[in-house]
Amino acid sequence: MESNIGEILRYLRVRGETPEILREQVEITARELEESLEPSYVYRAFPLTLGADGVMLTGSGVTLTGGLARKMLQHCDTAVLLCCTLGIEFERRLRALERRDMGKAVILDACGSAWVESGCDAAEAEIAARFPGRYITDRFSPGYGDLPLSLQPAVLSALDAQRRLGIHLSESFLMTPSKSVTAVIGVSDTPQPARVRGCGYCAMRNTCDYRKGGTSCAV
């Protein structure tokens, strides 16, 4: 498992030619993080039914509202809820660095964002392996498209994420530790072509610097 350096540079808003010395520092920071801090994750599978209110995950207390979840899970019988985090240790390191060198701190922050995504990728691969002969959808998260952030309390509660990962949620649905991700992955008997990546689904599409510049972040 390793971080996506290109993604980190995008988080740092580096456009055009990357100065070699900056790239080198990003690589060193990413490597140190990879070697010293393992993302933790938990997930659970729930049978699903499509109801009038949305997609209900039986036994979880979660109903995924909105068109995105319905579209993503339309051919699925099971949904896996996932939560992945770098934990409080990452916050501690980031704060320690912020006080010493803000420049290095923003690099670490970007590396953390990429590293927790790598953790999700690893979890996703593990989940796929638990359903041999079946197909999984792209993972998607509260806050994507019309899947509301207000689902966070129910998702975290279904995963018992406070007790099992130490995740805390603010009233405005922000997670602490900050490098934490919740996601939904559908499981189906048929291949799953739908993709959630791209500007059309992104909550940042109206404010994104890349789009203003006529390009995209290529996620």
Binding site: L12, L22, M102, G103, K104, V106, S172, T176
Partner: protein, 807 residues
């Protein structure tokens, strides 16, 4: 009352899971288990009866989450739920010897500094539960499943101060040996033992197999009875079922009695069957004899520090004789103090002395405030340095971990005032070898005072290893024979009493040329005589070099590893007057490269542009010999920053480089501020503005970036932090004469709080200018909510500040 004790001379059997059993008997996912106390009493009576039948000596009432935060949405009060829960448990236990515990779990919100819940509020929430539990007739209290030592301390204090109930405390650890918040087993053990828990242990998170090594470690670190309440193995990731059956659970858990565990139960995934199996295995067993280590120890949750060698106490957080520090205290400049802490940590300090006593400063308010700020920034244990008992108590209360207190002396009245605080909060204490009559002239007299202090501490219930003795350094140029007396007394205290010894070494050389040499020689002699806790300035490399060398010779530095690492880049001095090895900044990134600078002015510009903090500060100090502060700022600093800023605008320089340059500039500003403070002048600032991340937003790196850059253009930035309510912004603006307010919001869910803040600010009679920014903020949105400016990034905020305050 006889019922308010627990008999730990026998093995005690607790209960098993509540949540798991309730779910298996019909609790809906997402439901609030505590409501069942009112809605389905029969269900709970059944669970209690089953545990009692299985052999539990103690049952936990169903009050785990019965705090006001978690109950807020249920419409039920803490008292209602707790009263009902305990009444049901007592009914089930009637006619047996089984005790009913008030069960206190985590509040569900993260405490400061990582979260936003203040320690004092946590204490109040726990207190409410405890009072309800006492009124309802609980026999004991259990604090369990904690992952934050700070929250655990709040709960334990709440029980101890509001009841006479015995209290068991268990925390949840990961396989790494730490909790989610990073707390170590040793830190937990020493902190909770010191605070007066009746038994401590581990519950939840892991099965008995994975918990075993951690339980062994815990047994070594506490004389208290040790509790094990593990899960039934690990949950299946797909369906959530735990993988260990009752028999295997008991087979693995029961042998932990040999390691010293004497209180047993089960957590998630267990049931009455598990408890029965464990009780059967342990039938007729007595607790094992234990020989826990008796070691001197201080800690923060993340940094356990046994005093098993030389431990350096950094002395820099002290305003005595330091004008710049005094100014920082009077101006509430916490950043200055935190920077001193960080520097000392980086220089190798193990403990930080914290002294904020200065005329005009309210220590009772300031000491706890500084302690809170420090423990949010550095992991080092603290030594609270004050003679004000009220200030000490206020600081001990909010200290996270086990602190030391500096100091008491042989004066009975002083000991009577301070020692009970040491005992209550489980701290270590420094005893100075002096009394009302002053500093005795002979080693024997100082030793006698040391002994008097030790005896007083012991009779107060303070363990001997928590008593540290300071034999006092006097200035050798004034009282030359006293240096020998100090060393002699030190040796006696160490050899005859076996206590840890503290000594501030710097005073020895006062009034002499080449002070460093005398100080270092004295330090080495003192360590040789048995000094374990030198108080010194760790930024003085030659002193830390001596400590490093001593640790090699004493064998503390195994295989000379730390020494070799320290001097890995060492080159023997070529000239006679070369300063010992100082690590130089490595260039983070070079923002602009060019030919070698022609003058020290150009060199300063270059160092700032390249983000070299140490070099920039040194060059600034050099330049100030010939230039004024103002010409340095306007002639070098600002142009250099502008050059970096322009590179940033045009896409040649990126954010990390911009920030490194800004921080190099900050180092230069600090040199200027120190010079001005020494001359007694006011601090020079270009204008005072305020930054905050709005209510609900707990992530603040964006705001911190803006702050860093603005400060380094010389603006006085008041930072209110994150999750700041609109009213708090308005209050600060009114009280501190703020002309410009910057607000940051990261999430669409917190934009409303931004609007509310701006609206409130605009209603002020003399409203400040406002600028807003953050990931989700747009220029249109800024305009719509009535903000004066939209800042697309940190550089833009500088342009705004320039416009508002003028150049």
């Amino acid at each position: 009352m006889p019922s308010k004790t627990l008999d730990f001379s026998k093995i005690v059997i607790l209960d098993g899971a509540m949540g798991t059993v309730l779910q298996s008997r019909g609790l809906k996912p997402g439901g609030v288990p505590e409501l069942l106390n009112l809605e389905q009493p029969e269900l709970l009576r059944g669970v209690y009866r089953d545990y009692i039948a299985a052999g539990s000596d103690v049952i936990y009432a169903n009050t785990f989450g019965a705090n006001a935060l978690k109950l807020a949405r249920t419409g039920k009060s803490v008292a209602e739920i707790v009263t009902a829960a305990i009444a049901l448990a007592k009914e089930a236990a009637a006619g047996t010897n089984v005790k009913v515990a008030l069960d206190v779990g985590p509040l569900g919100e993260l405490l400061e500094p990582m979260g936003t819940l203040p320690f004092e509020r946590a204490y109040e929430l726990f207190r409410e539960m405890v009072l309800a539990g006492v009124a309802a007739g609980a026999d004991l209290a259990v604090v369990e499943t904690m992952t934050d030592l700070y929250e655990t301390k709040a709960a334990l204090l709440a029980v101890k101060e509001n009841s006479d109930l015995p209290v068991l405390v268990t925390m949840s650890f990961e396989e790494s040996g730490r909790t989610f918040t990073g707390c170590t087993v040793a830190s937990m053990a020493h902190t909770l033992t010191g605070l007066g828990a009746d038994a401590i242990g581990l519950n939840c998170s892991l099965g008995p197999d994975k918990l075993a090594p951690l339980l062994r470690e815990l047994c070594e670190h506490t004389p208290l009875p040790v509790i094990a309440k593990p899960n039934a193995g690990l949950p299946d990731p797909v369906d959530g079922h735990y993988d260990m059956d009752a028999r295997s659970f008991a087979d693995i858990l029961a042998p932990m009695a040999d390691a010293g565990v004497s209180v047993f139960g089960g957590c998630c995934g267990t049931s009455p069957d598990y408890v029965r199996a464990v009780a059967e295995r342990l039938e007729g067993r007595a607790p094992a004899k234990r020989t826990p280590k008796r070691e001197s120890f201080v800690c923060t949750p993340v940094r356990p520090l046994p005093i098993t060698g030389i431990r350096v106490i950094g002395e820099r957080i002290n305003p005595t004789g330091k004008k710049r520090f005094q100014q920082a205290l009077l101006e509430n400049d916490m950043d200055y103090i935190l920077d001193l802490a960080v520097q000392q940590e980086d220089a190798g300090a193990d403990i930080l002395d914290v002294n904020v006593g200065y005329p005009g400063v309210d220590e009772v308010e300031m000491l706890p405030r500084v302690v809170k700020a420090l423990q949010g920034t550095v992991p080092l244990p603290l030594m609270l340095d004050s003679s004000n008992a009220q200030a000490l108590e206020a600081a001990l209360r909010v200290c996270n971990g086990k602190a030391a207190v500096n100091s008491v002396n042989g004066d009975r009245e002083v000991m009577d005032r301070i020692l009970p605080l040491i005992q209550k909060y489980g701290a270590s204490v420094v005893g100075l070898c002096l009394d009302k009559n002053g500093v005795p002239q002979t080693a024997e007299q100082r030793f006698a005072i040391a002994k008097r202090i030790l005896d007083a501490a012991l009779s107060c219930g303070i363990p001997r290893e928590d008593v540290w003795i300071d034999c006092l350094t006097l200035t050798v140029s004034a009282q030359q024979e006293q240096a020998r007396q100090t060393l002699k007394a030190l040796r006696m205290v160490r050899e005859e009493l076996g206590l840890q010894t503290v000594l501030g070494v710097s005073n020895i050389s006062f009034g002499l040329p080449n002070r460093a040499l005398v100080t270092r020689t004295f330090l080495i002699e003192a360590m040789h005589a048995g000094l374990t806790l030198p108080i010194l300035n760790p930024n003085l490399t030659e002193l830390m070099d001596a400590v490093a060398a001593f640790r090699v010779l004493s064998g503390e530095d195994e295989s000379c590893r730390a020494y070799v690492e320290r001097f890995a880049d060492y080159e023997p001095p070529k000239a006679a007057n070369v300063v010992s090895s100082v690590k130089k900044d490595k260039p983070a990134q070079s923002a602009a490269s060019g030919a070698a600078p022609a003058s020290s002015g150009d060199a300063l510009d270059d160092a700032v542009i390249r983000g070299l903090k140490t070099e920039a500060a040194a060059l600034a100090a050099e330049l100030l010999k010939t230039e004024t502060e103002l010409s340095l700022v306007d002639g070098h600093l600002i142009p250099a920053l502008d050059q970096v800023g322009e590179g940033y605008e045009t896409g040649r320089v990126f954010l990390p480089q911009l920030l490194s340059a800004a921080q190099a500039a900050q180092a230069v500003f600090e040199v200027i501020r120190t010079r001005l403070a020494e001359r007694g002048g006011e601090s020079v600032k270009r204008g005072r503005l305020l930054v905050a991340t709005v209510r609900g937003d707990v992530h603040d790196i964006g705001k911190n970036i803006v702050k860093t850059v603005l400060e380094n253009y010389g603006y006085d930035v008041v930072d209110l932090g994150r999750d700041v309510p609109p009213e708090a912004v308005v209050k600060a603006v009114r009280e501190q004469g703020i002309g410009l307010v910057g607000l940051s919001a990261l999430m669409t869910t917190t934009l409303a709080a931004m609007e509310e803040t701006v609206t409130l600010l605009r209603q002020l009679p003399d409203p400040p200018k406002t600028f807003v920014g953050g990931a989700v903020v747009t220029p249109e949105y800024a305009q719509r909510i009535g903000a004066d400016y939209y800042a697309k990034d940190a550089k833009a905020s500088v342009e705004i500040a320039r416009e508002v305050f003028g150049q």
